[in-house]
Symmetry: C2
Subunit: 503 residues, 2 copies
């Protein structure tokens, strides 16, 4: 490594930082669109997003980036050092992104920005045909993108790789098949004991501003730093960030469904904790963010489910919740509450689904996306296919498109190949939590005391601080010693829900 190398690396980092400024500005444009923007702003916003994303892409794929990369060699730097990882990751990103012409980036950005407005109207009006031409266009753009990126076994692989680097759809299929084989009998056993849990009181009229306050309390309790982030309301909860010191989570609050705000706050809070605790030395580089959507989801689900739907958490917090809602929770003890928030029941909406049936919603989308992308399924036939598959996987059929094929924002946002990461995250959340339990023998007692720092610090040390330094499957190996697997999740679910439903 020479002085010259250092200068080259500095130049590369400077260029990458400017590209990130554009990307973070685009992220703010998107956040604002979902949280604040008046309807009239949509057309200009679509153009602004398209320009920024196009410019960021063009700057990154420029020959000058390649020239700098060519002069750098990761093996000149200590193994696993920031610089070695940076060169490796940026080289791979550059090779991938260069395959996409900036016109396509611009077209995807402006199409999806507009399509999200159309989708929102279509969803409100239960009008799939309004959205159909937009989805056809987005599918076509995704297919074009996949073909440009290149793929071997399945067109799906090219897109999946954007969200879960190095993962193949055949690997996902194997994991999902094992998961499905374990889930089907579990769902049946639970269905046979349906009466064991009553969740109806959660639909009483819970004051929305108190729900908000409790959510904020929970969010700060798990360690989300409000000096370096904030929570707002949006139609669809999400997390984004403009630096590790400015992380934005959103939630939605419904009076007649108190689970919605509570668990979406903990869920997005988990994503937020990941971003807030990426190593500060990675700030301003492309390594300074979560390494994949699957790993990200493992953190949202860990905080939402392993913590937020645990008995220990509510032993601590239920008295406080009861104080906030004395009338609604009158006569409900912590055991009944714990069972109610863990009620398992096939339902139409993915984001409201329980831990057991949630993955079935993902399988359905994974199937349909592969069929759409490979051309086996036409967009026009999608609503029918959706409803049939819902019946097959969950035994229920949507009575409208709003609660069916139009429920998720993802496709309107151009995100195909994204859904599997939700189920991968579920599996990983259990695998990572097991490791935390091994490392922190007092973990359950800590949670009983409402003390989350040891867990958060363990996760920071083992996962968060690394940012994108390690690819997801390498990170999984480092933390768990093995690969992603359905078994730990199935075991966890069988024990937890066996106890609740009594089998």
């Amino acid at each position: 490594m020479t002085q010259n190398n250092d200068t080259i690396l500095e130049q590369l980092k400077k260029n990458l930082a400017e590209i990130q400024h554009l990307e973070h500005a685009a992220a703010l444009l998107d956040w604002d669109q979902q949280v604040n923007m008046p309807a009239g702003g949509a057309d200009a916003r679509a153009l602004q997003l398209a320009t920024l994303q196009k410019m960021a892409h063009e700057l990154f794929i420029a020959d000058s980036t390649g020239d700098l990369l060519e002069k750098l060699n990761e093996s000149d730097y200590p193994e696993d050092s920031l610089d070695a990882c940076l060169i490796r990751v940026v080289r791979e990103d550059w090779n991938k992104d260069r395959k996409i012409p900036s016109e396509l980036v611009e077209e995807l950005a402006s199409t999806t920005s507009r399509a999200q407005e159309v989708w929102a109207r279509a969803r409100t009006d239960n009008d799939f045909q309004l959205f159909q031409p937009w989805l056809e266009k987005i599918l076509e753009l995704n297919q074009r993108q996949a073909d440009l990126l290149g793929w071997e076994e399945h067109i799906y692989d090219a897109l999946l790789d954007l969200y879960e680097p190095h993962m193949k759809s055949n690997q996902v299929s194997v994991i999902f098949n094992e998961l499905r084989e374990g889930l089907v009998p579990l769902v049946q056993e639970i269905a046979a004991r349906r009466d064991a849990v009553d969740g109806s009181f959660l639909e009483r009229d819970f004051d929305v501003s108190r729900q908000w306050d409790f959510g904020m309390q929970a969010l700060t309790a798990i360690g989300f730093d409000l000096e370096r982030g904030r929570q707002d309301k949006s139609t669809h909860p999400f997390t984004t960030n403009f630096s590790r010191n400015d992380v934005r989570v959103t939630t939605r609050v419904h009076a007649d469904n108190m689970k919605s705000a509570l668990f979406s706050t903990l869920h997005e809070g988990g994503h937020g904790l990941y971003e807030q605790n990426v190593g500060s030395e990675l700030e301003g580089t492309p390594l300074g963010t979560g390494t994949s959507l699957g790993i990200h989801e493992s953190q949202s689900r860990l905080w939402e489910n392993l913590i937020g739907r645990s008995r220990a958490f509510w032993e601590h917090y239920y008295p406080q919740l009861q104080q906030l809602f004395p009338a609604d929770l009158q006569g409900v003890n912590v055991d009944q509450f714990y069972r109610a928030i863990n009620l398992v029941e096939p339902s139409l909406i993915r984001v409201e689904a329980d831990e057991v049936t949630y993955n079935l919603h993902v399988f359905l989308r994974f199937d349909l996306e592969r069929e759409l992308l490979s051309g086996q399924l036409a967009v026009a036939d999608l609503p029918q296919a959706w409803n049939d598959r819902m019946e097959q996987y969950l035994g229920i059929r949507p009575h409208n498109h709003t609660d069916g094929v139009l429920q998720d924002v993802h496709w309107s946002a151009g995100l195909m190949g994204y859904f599997p990461t939700y189920a991968l995250g579920n599996l990983l959340s259990v695998q990572f939590y097991h490791q935390a339990q091994l490392a922190l023998p007092d973990l359950e007692e800590q949670i009983l005391r409402g003390e989350f720092s040891p867990l958060r610090e363990w996760l920071t040390e083992n996962i968060y601080r690394h940012g994108r330094k390690f690819y997801p499957q390498e990170l999984v190996k480092r933390v768990t010693g093995g690969d992603i697997s359905a078994k730990p999740f199935l075991e966890y679910a069988r024990i937890k829900f066996g106890a609740i439903y009594g089998f």
Copy 2:
């Protein structure tokens, strides 16, 4: 004009649109910083703003812009047509902006983004010395910028031209001297009759959420379109926009000062109306915004003062206000209320000043800025100079820097040469309103009925829709047939306040 010309013009417009996308993204970064951003976000935000502003500047001043401009001739297009005006304005902008290297743009952006955080702390802590090195840096950057832009009579002219194109500081001095000569005896006459007005009841405890609601009602009543804009809260009220269909105004609400939210809402609402009603055919071009800060301020002050502090407005709205605040306004009739909101009294804070003394605050800043820029006054001596000048112009002396030299955000934001436009706007608001009165004989009756469309439409037709097609002094000539002048304002103030104070 040839086909070729059309292609060149289209290419120019396309480039300019992309530059505007960057500028509007930067405007959103700034809006978010003032409305939402957690403190931790400041460092990254400063860098993001600097990069976007630098890129927009570099793209605009590129030789390629000049090449396109060189091939275009405004006289090939109909006089006053969009295309003729566009070519003229863009050519002038390009010649001006090219004088500023992009490193200076970047340095100004990142320095001022950080300086605003420091200023806010300095203001809270009454600590001028904390802010002093930042102001020295900003002064130095402004001097450098002015010298690069070039000036003949006074360095101030180069900066003033950025906010009020083609206006010279000597012209401003002449106008301000005439204004001062009229104001001094007026203030004295009012001071001699101080007891004629009692405004103390406005400091009662007015519920902040009802204040907000009334402000929103007033904002929509004057015609601010909430489908194409929104109002939020910020420490310092301001207006910005990301297209004519996404205009953001902010206000602040204090329980013990109900004038603050009310009049800042109407003030920013006036700025907002201007931007929302710029001609839609100008959207996406550099012409699609207000033509100068002075003209902009004429609109905020017209809606705030000529309408919002008029007797006719309150004849209509006072009963509604009284219904919202029955306890606070008990026993206060509309005449007492009208007098109270028009109380004239030398005070420390510019933005809270009445219509008569407001301009004195501007004179002070105009003086000090010219002395700072020319090197006659050192930043270290500024607090003393501020306090002395306050005593000279307003007869009162600040007891701390928070309510003195640290009160305004402008200098921390790098805005030197900006303040005179406030007083110019005051003068123009009266000149324009007189023209509206001549054109709309029923104007007062309309306002008595809470009917603002005819006035708003007249302003749109004569001012708003033109955007930047005409330079400010040309626009003033078109609307009033003459030049900017202190006389109409002095006449208006003498009649209005003579009636209130009885002379």
